[in-house]
């Protein structure tokens, strides 16, 4: 049987008396697109933050590619091949799109003195390829601060893809983006999954986005795992319907 790429066991995160994530188990297997849904405040982003090590975990263990990352620093987790985007877009506004891409490449095995050189041609080429893939080539030398919200979402996706990660965590990638661009983002994710074998863990409010993309879905409510299954199974689950609609 295939080993999970990401394997969380009993993940728990507390803020004082509030248990934001409570004893959650989950697995993400290679080349899957897994959704993580739940009502507002259910702990989705907190779980994401725990996985990417923005937040520490109080209890439990997270393994990524067979390595225990529970106590690792965020940049070490990124070096292992996990990348993420953020609910509130985080791009470097005073850098151009090209610089944003290049600086997100991570320093895998790079000696510090090599960083004092302009970027290697391979990195430059990869950055241009991804910018073209995301259809942002006409804005290559513009500062990220001048882009629209949707364009920043695409740029952030490109920044996550720049180091060629095995797993990409997408936090509300469609939020604040117009429907045409949402379809564009979905197409890009599908293509990356199908043609490049990338694995995705997606947090999203838009159920259509989730059902169009994901093979499996986890549902969180009040920090606990409420349901798990295919998008159709989950959407027909009584407990999920009650959590969302209260009936």
């Amino acid at each position: 049987m295939t080993e999970p790429l990401l394997d969380g066991r009993g993940v728990t995160k507390r803020y004082g008396g509030l248990v934001a994530v409570n004893n959650v188990d989950f697995q993400v297997f290679p080349k899957e697109i897994v959704g993580l849904i739940g009502p507002n405040g259910s702990g989705k982003t907190t779980l994401f933050d725990c996985l990417s090590r923005v937040q520490s975990i109080d209890e439990g263990q997270v393994m990524f590619k067979g390595t225990d990352i529970t106590r690792k620093k965020p940049h070490q987790v990124a070096h292992l091949g996990m990348a993420r985007t953020f609910q509130v877009i985080r791009v470097y506004r005073k850098l151009t799109i090209l610089e944003n891409m290049k600086v997100s490449r991570q320093w895998r095995g790079e000696q510090p003195w090599n960083q004092l050189r302009p970027s290697h041609r391979d990195i430059e080429t990869r950055a241009h390829e991804l910018i073209e893939f995301l259809k942002l080539e006409h804005l290559t030398h513009e500062n990220a601060g001048t882009l629209s919200g949707g364009q920043r979402r695409l740029l952030e996706l490109g920044m996550a893809l720049m180091p060629d990660p095995e797993l990409v965590l997408l936090d509300e990638a469609a939020s604040g983006v117009n429907p045409t661009l949402v379809n564009e983002i979905k197409d890009r994710i599908r293509e990356l999954n199908r043609d490049h074998g990338k694995t995705f863990l997606v947090v999203e409010h838009d159920m259509r986005f989730i059902s169009d993309l994901c093979n499996r879905v986890y549902v969180l409510n009040y920090g606990q795992k409420l349901a798990e299954g295919t998008p159709t199974e989950v959407m027909e689950d009584e407990a999920v319907i009650e959590a969302y609609f209260g009936t």
Binding site: A78, Y92, S104, L116, R117, A160
Partner: protein
């Protein structure tokens, strides 16, 4: 504003540096002229030192966004390192090199804990470090001469100091330009714009911040050593001059935080502006100078280079707002997106 193409800019720059380099020779070529005097050469030497210091400060304060109110401590360590070793029989160049190494080592030691602090906390921690080191120097009479100070062997050669400081300023500004176009420079700006995001994307922010801090400290230590030798006398009050760092902050802000040319323009403008203000408003020059600076900071928060369209220029306000947080304007936009 449209910028000149690259080649004419480079030609102008080379001509400017060549012109400045030949300035001390003018009295030999034209004995009757009265503009280039020893006093004027001294003024230019001071300006070159300030350009170097402001550029060093800008590496941590402007590029990485860690505003350091105690940067002059490295100047003091460089000056005292040079002075103490010269008093023990060392010649100037090795003593100055050793002084700069002391400043670098101190930056590594103090940077490790302080660079984990954000925004004003880091600024205050460095100010505290500056005051603490000054008092340690004052009480260490056996080594530093205490409040009485140290006298260095006199060496009065204005043209030589002029050329050394000009060369140092050119080299340091070139290094800053190189850093800005390197991956390291882009990394520092990424840390300034969003440190948490940078860490998430695989950047070891601690190592990068400390590297920038140590490079700036080493170069400032060199200036401290040069200044001590030129001045021939050092004591804690004259070396650890409290407003020296504030001047560097103002110069970088006026020129444009986070830009290469900003500290150069800011240092030159403030140095000569002060000269003019001093000459015309002798009794209340500080008030006039302060008022002019308030106006400049209020109306050009991203400095001269920001006005000229340098895209990496930023303001002190933005730097402090962003330290360790999600950029505030990004939050505003997110709120707008979800507000009907």
């Amino acid at each position: 504003m449209r910028r000149l193409p690259r080649t004419p800019r480079l030609v102008l720059l080379v001509l400017l540096i060549a012109g400045l380099a030949t300035m001390p020779l003018i009295p030999d070529w034209f004995p009757d002229q009265s503009w280039v005097t020893n006093s004027r050469l001294f003024s230019f030497t001071q300006m070159f030192m300030l350009i170097t210091l402001a550029s060093n400060w800008n590496l941590t304060g402007g590029f990485a966004g860690y505003v350091d109110f105690g940067h002059a401590v490295f100047f003091g360590i460089g000056a005292y390192g040079t002075g103490i070793l010269m008093n023990h029989g060392w010649s100037f160049w090795p003593a100055m090199g050793a002084g700069a190494v002391f400043a670098l080592v101190f930056a590594l030691v103090i940077g490790w804990p302080t660079l984990r602090l954000k925004g004003p906390y880091f600024a205050i921690a460095m100010l505290g470090t500056f005051v603490a080191v000054r008092e340690i120097v004052r009480v260490s009479k056996g080594l530093t001469g205490g409040g009485v100070g140290l006298t260095l062997p006199p060496y009065l050669n204005r043209p030589l100091f002029y050329w050394i400081t000009l060369a140092l300023a050119v080299v340091v500004v070139f290094i800053m330009w190189w850093i800005r176009r390197s991956e390291f420079g882009a990394t520092l700006i990424a840390i300034r714009e969003d440190e948490v995001g940078a860490e998430m994307r695989g950047i070891n922010t601690t190592v990068n911040k400390i590297t920038a801090f140590a490079i700036g400290a080493f170069s400032t230590g060199i200036v401290g050593g040069l200044w001590a030798y030129q001045n021939t006398f050092i004591d804690p009050d004259v070396v650890f001059f409290p407003s020296r760092t504030v001047e560097l902050v103002m110069m970088s802000m006026l020129g444009g935080l986070g830009t290469v040319a900003g500290p150069v323009l800011g240092a030159a403008t403030i140095y000569w502006m002060r000269d003019v203000v001093w000459a015309n408003f002798a009794d209340y020059h500080l008030m006039v100078e302060g008022f002019l600076l308030i106006l400049i900071v209020l109306y050009t928060p991203e400095g001269i280079m920001g006005r000229l369209g340098d895209k990496s220029a930023t303001s002190l306000q933005k730097v402090w707002k962003r330290n360790g947080k999600v950029p505030e304007d990004a939050v505003d936009e997110a709120v707008e997106q979800v507000t009907p």
